[in-house]
Symmetry: C2
Subunit: 302 residues, 2 copies
């Protein structure tokens, strides 16, 4: 059986911004380094948590280039490259490949709602055909609550049949444990990456390949503990303690809005005010909400 | 009282494509000319019906430039310029202004769902501030069934208070007649443009400024009749007949999917097969579905 790819704990990295809302590239690189030092296996940059859709194509390219120039190994990076316009998805994907980054996380086009399974298959096929590179490996991105475009099993089946070496994984951010279990059962060799931090533990036991999560911006170390030691009875206490911190942190940052909450937490951890910057339509937390998040996180640390 | 702007019948123009799915610019210009000859007051290019979100920023610029170079007057064009990434919305809007096209239709950023009214206000404000041109006139774009982002009256109020000469209009594609009536009543001076063809007639009677619709790709002449003569008792029969054709055409193209149906109808009218081309995730109709659309439209003509 082919080894699952990608696998491990991937952080859906936040994107720090200057006060003019341009990406703070040195701080982004420093954050990536810290995440890897904490134990993350890789960085899923330019995802929903990274505000990818709020950045232009050129800004997205610059963010990936900065990570590579900052010394992050190319096999640690799985950038998001899926946007609404196929020519831009193709351009972003080719750009990643040109830099030696061969695994990307790809949203489907998501402006039109209620599209057919034929249409969704055609959209992904069109990108693969236009990229035209056997090295490409795609992580499908199932996040229906945001994109409005679920990725049905039928489409996964057809894509894997037509492009077996390309569609290697899916990130499931729906929070629907039954869907993840069903995909693991139905698609041997498909790396199912859990998108909800607390579900990493139960789904590893079912055969998940790992996770791409938001709270790993704070608790990557705990997620790494769960990932590495979940099957070791001697580590059961450490795993249980890590899982408890993951759940508590996830709860703390989910009260008001995950992305502003995580950015507030990074501002508090690092003492850098600029971490609170966000692109509209996302807004920073009120002081009262931020205090509530902070109380939740202090309880985690305590 | 300031005259409403924009007003009249605007066609949400389809975008014809070559077989390689690049925009067929000469055919697009010819279509725009035909629409104006039919009686449309202007062209709302690069909207939902025009598959705008499926085109890259560069393609969108080329489509607007082609219309101008093809001799369409700049005051007849209201291009869509709103995308998810604010820098790209700013670039598209500045590009239109640089060509003398001062009125644009602007979707809000629509990847993140459930955004706050503060966030939505901030997103539009950020664009206006970055464009920094007093000439700019924005048509807000309310199409919650596609974008997932309704534009609440509170946000309209705040934008018009802060930028009174900029936020001049709203296109309401929700089909919610009560919402359009409420906006007409609450915001004197705001041009409410109806997004559903059959609703033009009833809403003109309430004070709507006109319409931006999809079916006008076929029945622009009838919409123009309704718009120009709805208040003239001597034209009551002509208006009623036009309205009946509008309703029938709208029904005919709404059985399977408006955009593929309208493109199929254009292919049938012009004899040009390429009109059926669409970018995924949209797909052309099956032969059986197209035949059903054709039957419905033949009944309209008969």
């Amino acid at each position: 059986m082919t080894e699952l790819h990608p696998k491990g704990v991937f952080c859906a990295a936040l994107t720090p911004q200057h006060d003019d809302l341009t990406p703070d590239l040195p701080r982004f690189v420093a954050h990536c380094r810290w995440l890897l030092a904490e134990g993350c296996d890789g960085i899923a940059l330019l995802g929903t948590t990274g505000e990818a859709n709020s950045f232009s194509v050129e800004e997205r390219k610059a963010i990936l280039e900065a990570a590579l120039e900052g010394g992050i190994a190319r096999d640690r990076l799985i950038p998001g490259t899926g946007v609404n316009a196929i020519p831009e998805t193709v351009a972003l994907t080719k750009h990643a490949l040109s830099l030696g980054v061969d695994t990307v996380v790809m949203l489907p086009p998501n402006y039109y709602k209620g599209v057919s399974t034929d249409g969704l298959f055609a959209a992904y096929s069109e990108v693969v055909e236009r990229v035209g590179d056997q090295a490409l490996k795609v992580v499908l991105y199932h996040i229906p609550q945001m994109s409005g475009i679920p990725i049905p099993h039928e489409v996964i089946e057809r894509l894997r049949t037509r492009y077996p070496s390309t569609f290697v994984a899916i990130k499931d951010s729906s929070g629907d444990q039954a869907n993840m279990e069903a995909m693991i059962a139905r698609f041997p060799g498909l790396a199912v990456l859990v998108g909800a931090d607390p579900l990493l533990l139960p789904l590893l036991k079912k055969g998940a390949a790992g996770c791409i999560t938001a709270t790993s911006n704070l608790v990557g170390k705990d997620l790494a503990t769960v990932y590495r030691h979940h099957a070791d009875p001697a580590q059961a206490d450490a795993v249980a303690a890590a899982q408890a911190r993951i759940v508590a942190a996830r709860n703390a940052v989910s009260q008001f809005g995950q992305i502003p909450s995580l950015k507030a937490a990074l501002a508090l951890r690092t003492g850098h005010e600029g971490w609170r910057n966000l692109r509209p339509p996302l807004m920073r937390l009120t002081a009262a909400d931020e205090a509530a998040v902070q109380r939740g996180l202090t309880a985690v640390a305590g």
